[in-house]
């Protein structure tokens, strides 16, 4: 059995509040961004086919490039999140864990 923690006190501690605030803003912010960005593709394909038909390089059109951009954006968000989490969130979490023993 692990030791008993005072969850209330941890939740109210400034360090936890700071970690929580930063995480929440980051996670839900980027999540909303990825959702909106994805719906842009669906809306574009459905309602703006003329734009999506425009050829960009040779026969490759906006539609294909925009779909590929979805992949790049997802990877980008993932890498950026990993960077921020490894740099800030993990360090703050460790500090907190040491503090509460």
């Amino acid at each position: 059995m692990a030791k008993k923690y005072d969850w209330e006190a941890i939740a109210e501690s400034p360090k936890f509040r700071e970690l929580h605030r930063r995480k929440r803003n980051f996670l839900f912010g980027w999540w909303a961004f990825s959702a909106v960005f994805y719906f842009l593709l669906l809306l574009g394909v459905g309602y703006a086919p003329d734009i999506f038909k425009i050829k960009v390089i040779g026969n490759i059109n906006v539609c294909y490039l925009f779909a590929l951009l979805q992949f790049v954006a997802s990877w980008g968000i993932a890498m950026y999140y990993a960077y921020v989490a490894n740099k800030d969130f993990d360090r703050m979490t460790e500090d907190l864990l040491i503090e509460i023993g």
Partner: protein
Amino acid sequence: MTRLMVLLTLLLTLGTTAYAVEPSVKVSSTTTPAIAAPSGTAASVSVAHPAPAATAPVPSAAPKLKTNRLITMGMFLVIIGFTMGIVVWAARQTKTAADFYTAGGGITGFQNGWAIAGDYLSAATFLGITGLISIAGMDGFMYAVGPMVTFVTILLVIAEPCRNAGKYTMGDILSFRSSPKVVRGFAALSTVTVSIFYLLAQMVGAGKLMQVLLDIPFRTSVVGVGVLIVVYVCFGGMKATTWVQIIKAGLLMACGVFMSVMIMVKVGMSPVRFFAEIANSVPIQDYVRGVLKHPLAVPGFDYGQRYLEPGLFLKSPIDQLSLGIAWLLGAAGLPHIMMRFFTVPNAKAARKSVIVAMFLIGFFFIMTTILGFGASIYLTPQMLTAVDKGGNMSALLLAQYLGGGAGTIGGDLFLAFVCAVAFTTILAVVSGLVLASSAAISHDVYVNIIKDGKADQKDQVRVARITSLVVGIIAIILGIAAEKQNIVHLVALAFAVAASGNFPVIILSLFWKRFNTAGIISGLTVGAVTAIGLVMVSPNMTYPKKIAADAQKIVVALEKKQAEGVVLAEKDLKTLDKSRADYEKNKNGTSMLGLDAPLFALKNPGIVSVPMGFLAAIFGCLLFRERRSEEMFNEIYVRQNIGVGIANATDH
């Protein structure tokens, strides 16, 4: 232990052979249904299929995919032998419940990333999406984007909190600060429902695929696949399942890369030239002209380029949006994906595993465009649709072509290899599903509801093995029963139920202080019931009156021709007879729910059922306040954020 295993394998194999002797209806390879997995709505495309294209050249005899049985069987045996070796190795190390469900949490983030990719890239993604692109052009690729973007949701809001707050199942997370027994019951029910929908589609797809590839009866293939999976899961637990998934992901990636490189070499590794080849292909131009029903080419219309533009088949943007919602949130609520996060030691490893999986899956989806369009260029959509209406055989035909063509040693070998990869894929995905359902029944229902959490390790593992066996047998029975059913919408349904039922309650449990038992129950129930209900009254179901009306149209048209004195060709006469029979048979029929026409116009319920799930969860929770769950919020909140006290996450 090992002896028991050998005995069971032997017994089950004998059973399989008994089945094999049974005569079966010979089904031509042209009827393989879309083996959809994340691609949920392969149905949308296959339904919107080109009506017999007027101008597309019709091949005289329907082409067929022919495998070299000896080589293919050999490859299958190698794969089965190798994976069985893993099972024996894993079985020796599976002693506790934690070993069985989560491989003791001893999988590294990198390994788990490959396993997630193995779990997620089902036969549908490989055969289904490649096939859709090969016969529907750019529209097919649209089906690959959603299943990729959903991983952002999993990465940001699901993976780490679940790892920190859960132990083996979704029930662990949901029951944390609510009335445990009731909530676990509902969570288990929901997990089993979602998994069974998903499982059924995989089993039927696997049966049909093996039937074509090995030329064995449908029942034998379903029983064979089922038996193997039961053996994998019962004995090897999560450890064997994970390694089968990792190996499968490796084989699939290798296969995809190899085939893509072979195609790109043909066009001098230039994407621009590759796309020019598609647009300049005369068969593709003819095919598109047929799809658009232009009897004569419209001057100046670039038919080849049209294949690269969206909207050739997908005509309903709202339906696509609705499907998009299910994708964005559905994968995050799939129990067998969630379970993968419990196999790593900590949140950091969970994070790493999602990122590794995202790169593998994304990379693979992008390769499907090379494979799919490559198949259109070199094999023509006409030939691919003639072999299989939904294009499900495209990747396999392409392998045969790249290896040197049908009948050559190279072609046979390469085809056999890709078939074996498809086979491993099915084994890996179904194993994950069986394990997730079995964990829900044994851990949530048996251990925590019936035994009040007081079952010793030996007992837990024993029950987990028995439930795996039972789930496996149920999967085999349902798979056989569903042979003639249209199973494609089941995967869409699994995603919709996961997105509308599971996702809202998981998110609210983790992030909303006031969330409680009433909210979980109303959210899970209303979300799932709405999603299932809407699908039952949607255009996915069969409406006999619609079939009758279509048949009547053909009858009228052909009779008019006859009245004008045209002598009908034999083929048209046959069509006439068949249409008359169809009309008679269907004119008074109604759908499964007794409807003449769909009540809900969309194929995908997400746009309605996801908000319903959220609203029901919120209202249910506001109606019945629960002090305890509010007081305990700080605990789960701190835990899911920093992962303190993971080991005793459920000892409350």
